[in-house]
């Protein structure tokens, strides 16, 4: 039924067809994901990074920052739904939410769906990403125009210094710790988020893949634990990310927080109304069940 290609072995990438984008980075050495392109929709060097939007053959539109795939139309929902609903559904009443980063708008789109959320403040450092997403990636950019959202262009670090005890949930949707986002994985960042939270507050940060960067996952986990009573690591499947999996470090101020058991359970009808394609309460619980090698690496640091 399926014709195996005749090009079965490449001893060099030179042998491949032209017209592919390849992600190559020292953070995941020796492995590279490539997407076949239809065309480039936009490319611009912003104040902070190289911003590229492409139309791929089978993954839809894709946003690429400094050569790293941030999201593709095919699978971005798995990431956005999980980074939003894991913390939101772990909080008894998430009214005020801060999003740091997330310039494409996908996280804001998901956070705004939660019925308890009244106000979303978003701080994105790179205005070019906001503009590009609104123009070329409307399926995510739409989130930025939600009436619940107040957009700030600036440094999340500086913003939080001016806002104490203001938020129920802080979501950090950053790029990887190899460019402008490096500071968002440090201990000082987690301790600053703590001051910006209301009592019982929760944080959720993109924290990389255990398959490739286990040391980095453990380190981010430790940093979170130094400021939060309850810490956990949840995972989701995202094919266009390195190793096809990404994880989130979550921290809770209250010892009553238990990320493994969602406080808010949505019915199938509610999930349908919110157009959730990945997240459910069962998926929430399963996200914190980790492969043994990951469980072991985090064991001495895990709080539950």
């Amino acid at each position: 039924m399926f014709k195996a290609t005749t090009v079965i072995v490449q001893t060099s990438m030179d042998a491949m067809k032209t017209g592919w984008f390849s992600e190559i980075n020292d953070f995941w050495p020796g492995v590279s994901l490539s997407l076949e392109l239809e065309n480039t929709l936009h490319r611009e060097k912003s104040q902070y990074q190289d911003v590229l939007v492409v139309q791929t053959k089978t993954y839809g539109k894709a946003l690429i920052l400094d050569g790293i795939i941030q999201c593709t139309e095919k699978d971005e929902f798995a990431y956005q739904e999980m980074i939003a609903f894991l913390p939101l559904c772990s909080h008894p009443n998430p009214k005020n939410v801060l999003i740091v980063g997330g310039g494409d708008g996908g996280v804001a789109r998901e956070v705004a769906k939660h019925p308890n959320v009244e106000r979303i403040v978003q701080v994105e450092i790179d205005s070019t990403v906001l503009e590009v997403s609104k123009k070329y990636l409307p399926f995510m950019g739409v989130g930025l125009n939600n009436p619940k959202v107040t957009l700030n262009v600036g440094d999340g670090f500086e913003f939080m210094k001016q806002h104490t005890k203001e938020f129920d949930v802080i979501i950090t949707d950053s790029s990887d710790p190899i460019g402008p986002a490096e500071c968002l994985f440090q201990e000082s960042y987690f301790s600053l988020m703590k001051t910006a939270l209301k009592p019982g507050g929760i944080v959720c940060s993109q924290a990389g893949t255990a398959w490739m960067n286990l040391d980095h996952v453990v380190k981010t986990f430790q940093h979170c634990k130094s400021s939060f009573a309850i810490v956990d690591y949840g995972i989701t499947s995202v094919p266009s990310y390195p190793t096809g999996q990404i994880g989130f470090v979550l921290g809770g101020l209250s010892t009553e927080t238990n990320f493994k058991v969602p406080k808010r359970i949505f019915t199938e009808e509610e999930l349908d109304e919110m157009n959730l394609r990945y997240y459910s309460s069962e998926v929430h619980k399963a996200a914190f069940v980790l492969p043994r090698f990951v469980e072991k690496a985090l064991k001495s640091y895990r709080t539950t």
Copy 2:
């Protein structure tokens, strides 16, 4: 800390360094995983397929058949442990096990660990894979030498016609449905497995990734359901497979089978003794919790 590469955008794969293996196949169009190579350890055209063993830079040794990555040293345990222990731990007493395919030996290695398993019969069509694995991939090939294992070189289809009501569990560890393994995904194959099983028997077959081949997953699921009372689909994370995820279709003859709840629960000490790095009872249960878009696609066919 991490230096972003200066090669940030490839409009063509020609721009990449030489010395990479790239997986390109019509079964997952528009996307390609590449592994950087140290050297080629062996290459041979067998009676059935192109057999290639390479030493990669960061994924260890890898077996590649007809240009498709079958397993890498870095992550093969996630696949082998799950395809073996999901069915074995769903059966009350899995004494006799048939493995169809699995020529690298990884599945036999895992099946032999289960304390109830007394006898493993393996039928692999390509003797070259067996020889190559024993010689170049001893971390998997060792499974073929286990005293519980009886090896047969031949066609699993033909073998089963001669063996009725003989096995408690049948595991089909095949390559993808685009070459010699195509027949192992058909309805007739599931109905033949049924005849080779003892009462209460269970089957588990590699069934591809829902992210890329949802139609194929649904079709394999339907074929299984036409012969088995209880059917389910479980998933695991394997970075070197397309989309970083692969699933298994499981079928049970008895209505008392419930794949979601393992019958055999191993202690942490037992899991350590068996050197299980991925599988645990909690991972077992979580494997059957599916993203909503997969759950919906299978909903009308699922039995539990």
